[in-house]
């Protein structure tokens, strides 16, 4: 079984709006797939539909070969899908520790794993007892990612992990994801092409609620004309 996650013909309506209009792509096990696209292309809606936070009105989603199109969100989490939403979803009134404790469902946090997370994001150790609401934007993002990896998961869905972050923090985030992807499968939405190119194995590009390109990241990174056409930007402009 090579494909961990597969979407076929997925349509999503939000109220009266037809947002996803037949999305097809898949995520291979032990790879990092970047989901790119202009603002409003439907990337967030796509992740939310996978996570069961919106219901697909047509099409099918498979995870580990089983259909999950109608599976409830908590059950998806129990199957091993972790989600870092675009707004990070931090519990501001809880401490960093309490945020992490909740992420370790049905038990205590594993000490060794925690040390590993502290290695990726030292700020988590430093602010362990502080209210999460008092963290800086970058630290909140780190907490959101830490929470998703508090226990081993089959698939991480991460929505714009570098949104609004300073360049130095983005560099730290890239390092953390490089370490993370060594034994995980990720689907990451990004606007930062440098981030995407540094980490992505595969790429899917969305526009107007559809996938308009899918392939290897290296191929897109090497083809400036393709970037220009799909994303309206060239790699050179972003270095």
């Amino acid at each position: 079984m090579d494909e961990l996650l597969a979407l076929s013909g997925v349509n999503t309506h939000i109220g009266q709006y037809h947002i996803l209009q037949g999305v097809d792509f898949s995520v291979k096990k032990n790879s990092l797939t970047m989901l790119l696209g202009r603002n409003g292309a439907g990337k967030t809606t796509c992740l939310r539909t996978i996570m069961g936070l919106w219901r697909a009105s047509a099409g099918k989603i498979h995870f580990q070969g089983k259909e999950i199109t109608r599976t409830a969100t908590p059950d998806l989490a129990r199957l091993g899908i972790a989600y870092v939403p675009e707004n990070m979803g931090i519990f501001a009134g809880l401490t960093v520790k309490e945020n992490m404790v909740l992420a370790a469902r049905g038990g205590a946090l594993d000490e060794r794993r925690l040390e590993w997370i502290f290695g990726l994001f030292p700020a988590m150790k430093k602010f362990w007892g502080s209210a999460a609401g008092n963290l800086s934007g970058g630290q909140k993002q780190m907490l959101a990612v830490s929470r998703a990896i508090a226990q081993p998961r089959e698939l991480l869905l991460v929505d714009e992990p570098t949104k609004g972050l300073a360049p130095a923090i983005i560099a730290a985030m890239i390092e953390a994801f490089r370490e993370l992807k060594r034994d995980a499968t990720l689907l990451v939405v990004e606007q930062n092409f440098h981030f995407a190119r540094s980490l992505g194995d595969a790429v899917a590009v969305m526009d107007s609620g559809r996938i308009v390109h899918a392939g290897a990241m290296a191929e897109l990174a090497a083809d400036e004309a393709l970037q220009q056409r799909l994303l309206g930007l060239s790699l050179a402009a972003h270095q």
Partner: protein
């Protein structure tokens, strides 16, 4: 520091009232009366604020749980009248304990039924919630008339809880002291559960962001049903206490007290149990002081208090970060 500022309002209000009231014994009596009233309001309101915080549900039928609790207890107490009138604490307790248990159980059961049948179909739609739960409140009121008759039921306090004790020159009703003790116990228990247990952690997280709690793998529906039933049970407990305080039970008592309850949970910050506690005490104290100092203003004092607090903190004393 900032967290304790609203809490400091309670002693500040009490101290500010002292020179206005003038006589210390009168002030002590008013203060204890205010705290007792506040504690009872807190017990009735605490469940509602959590239900709103967790599931964003506006439940006007909460008042029905209050009335039903009071009626359930009244039935038990009337049946055990002899024990109530005996001048022995043990005999009184042997009537009160089953009465309170009946109130909590019946109100909780009604809450469970309401959640399943009335509220579940209208999640996410505030207008429908208001209409449907208002309707539910009216239906329950009418059913109470059918079951218990339309007349006011007198509910004398147990023999050992009538009368006052003297504290210096101040007379303090025994029943009010009991109300303060029970209120503190309920608050302490809720605080312990919310701050010291995993269940409490989940509830606090759910109040902030239900979607994220689900995304972490928790079935928040079950949690919500549990909180709803517990909150209804507490409303039942508050209903008995309120009825004994008024020494009578009426079908409309729940609806009447709902106005104050809404004011309290808005003052406190929707979803915040601590805010609900502070808000209830403030409302109780201010109502008693104003009732004594300027009886004509008594009716409007709650609204005035709410306006002042919302001017200071527009989202209530302890705003809950809902995202």
């Amino acid at each position: 520091m900032k967290r304790h500022l609203p809490l400091a309002l309670v002693p500040a209000a009490a101290l500010a009232a002292l020179p206005l009231v003038g006589s210390t014994p009168t002030w002590v009596t008013l203060t204890v009366a205010g705290l007792a009233m506040g504690m009872m309001i807190f017990i009735m309101a605490s469940g509602l604020t959590l239900v709103f915080g967790l599931m964003d549900v506006m439940n006007f039928a909460h008042g029905a749980f209050i009335s039903v609790g009071a009626y359930a207890a009244a039935s038990v107490l009337i049946a055990l009248r002899a024990d109530m009138q005996a001048p022995s604490l043990a005999a009184n307790l042997s009537a009160i304990v089953p009465a309170v248990a009946a109130a909590i159980a019946l109100a909780g059961l009604l809450g469970w039924f309401f959640e399943r049948v009335v509220i579940r179909p209208v999640y996410g739609d505030h207008l429908k919630q208001i209409l449907v739960t208002m309707g539910g409140l009216i239906v329950v009121e009418q059913l109470i008339h059918v079951a218990w008759g339309p007349d006011i039921i007198p509910l004398p306090r147990p023999a050992t809880l009538t009368g006052s004790v003297l504290l210096g020159d101040a007379a303090i009703e025994r029943y009010r002291m009991l109300a303060v003790v029970v209120g503190l116990a309920v608050f302490a228990a809720m605080w312990l559960v919310l701050s010291r247990t995993r269940l409490g952690l989940l509830i606090r997280a759910g109040v902030e962001n239900t979607e994220m709690v689900e995304s972490l793998g928790y079935r928040i529906r079950r949690l919500f049903v549990g909180v709803f039933v517990a909150g209804s049970g507490l409303a039942g407990l508050g209903g008995v206490m309120w009825a004994m305080y008024q020494e009578s039970v009426t079908a409309s008592m729940g609806m009447q007290v709902m106005v104050v309850i809404f004011i309290v949970i808005i003052i406190g910050g929707l979803g915040s149990v601590g805010g609900c506690f502070v808000g209830a005490l403030l409302v109780g104290l201010v109502a008693n002081y104003i009732g004594y100092l300027a009886p004509k203003l008594a009716l409007g004092s709650n609204i005035l208090l709410m306006v002042l607090i919302l001017l200071w903190r527009p989202r209530g004393l302890y705003p809950v970060g809902k995202s």
